[in-house]
């Protein structure tokens, strides 16, 4: 079962796990490797030995920045970010979303639904409230007010109902939440 599922996910990602020969170049260049509990090479190793669980429960799939350094440098053209993306959708479907990522994504989605645009400081402010980190990045607020860098509300797209419908339709496809 688990193996079948793993193979399906790899197929969706368009990656054959045995293309990876474990050289480690991906982990060497990954800017987030210092905080990942499973490094990029480890993700590929787990895919080879059938440890789907280990990947889905790793913090890696939530900490990857999507910078594509690993894929750029891989001598065998393994698209690790594509694997990580599929694994993230799968983990989310199983309710394994990392808490802070979940809060951020929800705040973001609310933002888009309200304005059609992303209101940066509102996003940060709401995120901080919900995660009980009221001061994170707020030292810059006086500077931003003084220089009028914050619009209270972004210009609204004329057609917010269209955005709302788009988000609804997107939910129908596999993967959302």
């Amino acid at each position: 079962m688990e193996n079948e599922r793993l193979n399906q996910l790899m197929e969706r990602a368009g990656v054959r796990q045995y293309d990876c020969y474990q050289c480690g170049k991906c982990s060497g260049g990954c800017p987030m490797a210092h905080v990942m509990d499973l490094k990029p090479r480890g993700v590929m190793r787990c895919a080879q030995i059938g440890s789907l669980r280990r990947i889905l429960e790793s913090n890696t799939i939530w900490l990857c920045t999507g910078c594509h350094t690993c894929a750029e440098r891989c001598p065998h053209d393994v698209d690790i970010p594509a694997v990580i993306e599929e694994m993230r959708y799968e983990a989310a479907a199983e309710g394994l979303t990392r808490r802070d990522s979940k809060v951020l994504n929800e705040v973001f989605l609310a933002n888009i639904r309200m304005f059609g645009k992303n209101h940066e400081m509102l996003l940060a402010g709401l995120y901080n409230m919900l995660t009980l980190k009221p001061l994170q990045d707020m030292a810059s607020l006086p500077h931003m007010y003084k220089n009028k860098l914050l619009k209270l509300l972004p210009k609204e797209p004329k057609n917010l109902t269209e955005i709302e419908a788009l988000v609804k339709r997107a939910e129908k496809w596999r993967g959302l939440k």
Partner: protein, 294 residues
């Protein structure tokens, strides 16, 4: 006259005020027309594609489809690396992956042919005639300004989407910066990721990313960092208090390529709101303007 459908992106409307003003100034001088895409929406970076493939593709595709409908003859231009990556990926997927195109069109409920290209500022400033135009309009030199040109990840990677010729050592920005009399420094972190995507939801884990970039720029003699993205710019400025505390290094000004060009083309600091930077940047530019050729 060159003309583009323009996607400003969310940052341009708020925190990236000097970038916006400088871009308008420079494009005006160069005679490049920017037609803002009517009723554009957020490109979704970076939560859109974290939530789902469909949302990650449809959010940028809606703006692209609107642009192609309104101005079918115009390519699309954006000054933000995150927007560029999302828009360009939607274009690329619509062209190369039938399943993705189907999902996109169903989700945005509009046809999207992906007939036009998506470009960033580096692409446009590197066009031979535009580059000539820049050289002609530089009215004062930023002599000897040691600048670290920072491309970030998404302006160059992934290769198959961006088509960037060199992802490890890109040079297009260095060449443009050199037209102003500034001296691009050789450094290692040009295309490293600044981690802007996780500065909210994994703040302590991702602080090392901007810090490493700042340190490498300074160790290689840079007096300033030049960016091609408002998110990178904001991130590299806002993390400097922690950087200074941690390393004992000085702060380093960070501003966009547009601002550098605007100053060289004669814009006053006030005109492009240079004072709005979190890390002061007017002084280092003024110093370069006063410096005479050695």
């Amino acid at each position: 006259m060159r003309k583009y459908s323009y996607f400003p992106g969310c940052s341009m409307e708020s925190t990236a005020k000097p970038y916006r003003l400088a871009t308008e100034y420079v494009m005006g001088k160069l005679g490049i027309g920017l037609v803002e895409i009517e009723d554009w929406n957020c490109c979704g970076a970076t939560s859109g594609h974290t939530l789902s493939e469909a949302l990650g593709l449809a959010l940028p595709a809606r703006s692209l489809a609107l642009a192609e409908k309104r101005n079918p003859e115009l390519d699309i231009l954006t000054g933000c690396a995150s927007c560029y990556a999302r828009l360009r990926l939607a274009m690329y997927k619509a062209r190369t992956d039938e399943r993705a195109k189907y999902i996109i069109e169903k989700t945005i409920d509009m046809p999207y042919a992906a007939a036009r290209e998506v470009y960033n500022f580096l692409d446009v400033f590197s066009l031979p005639d535009v580059r000539e135009g820049i050289a002609e309009r530089v009215v004062r030199k930023l002599t000897g300004l040691k600048a670290a040109c920072y491309y970030g990840c998404l302006n160059v990677r992934p290769a198959e989407v961006t088509g960037a010729p060199d992802r490890e050592n890109p040079t297009s920005m260095d060449e443009i910066v050199a037209l102003t009399g500034a001296e691009p420094v050789d450094w290692a972190f040009k295309a490293e990721c600044c981690g802007a995507a996780h500065q909210n939801d994994a703040a302590s884990a991702s602080r090392a990313l901007p810090h490493r970039i700042l340190r490498d720029a300074q160790s290689n003699g840079a007096e300033a960092i030049v960016t091609a993205c408002p998110m990178c710019n904001l991130n590299l400025e806002m993390r400097q208090d922690g950087y200074v505390n941690r390393t004992g290094m000085d702060r380093i000004p960070v501003f966009s390529l547009s601002e550098l060009l605007a100053v060289a083309m004669g814009a006053s600091a006030k005109r492009i709101a240079l004072e709005a930077h979190y890390v002061p940047s007017a002084a280092v530019l003024a110093r370069a303007l006063r410096r005479k050729d050695a």
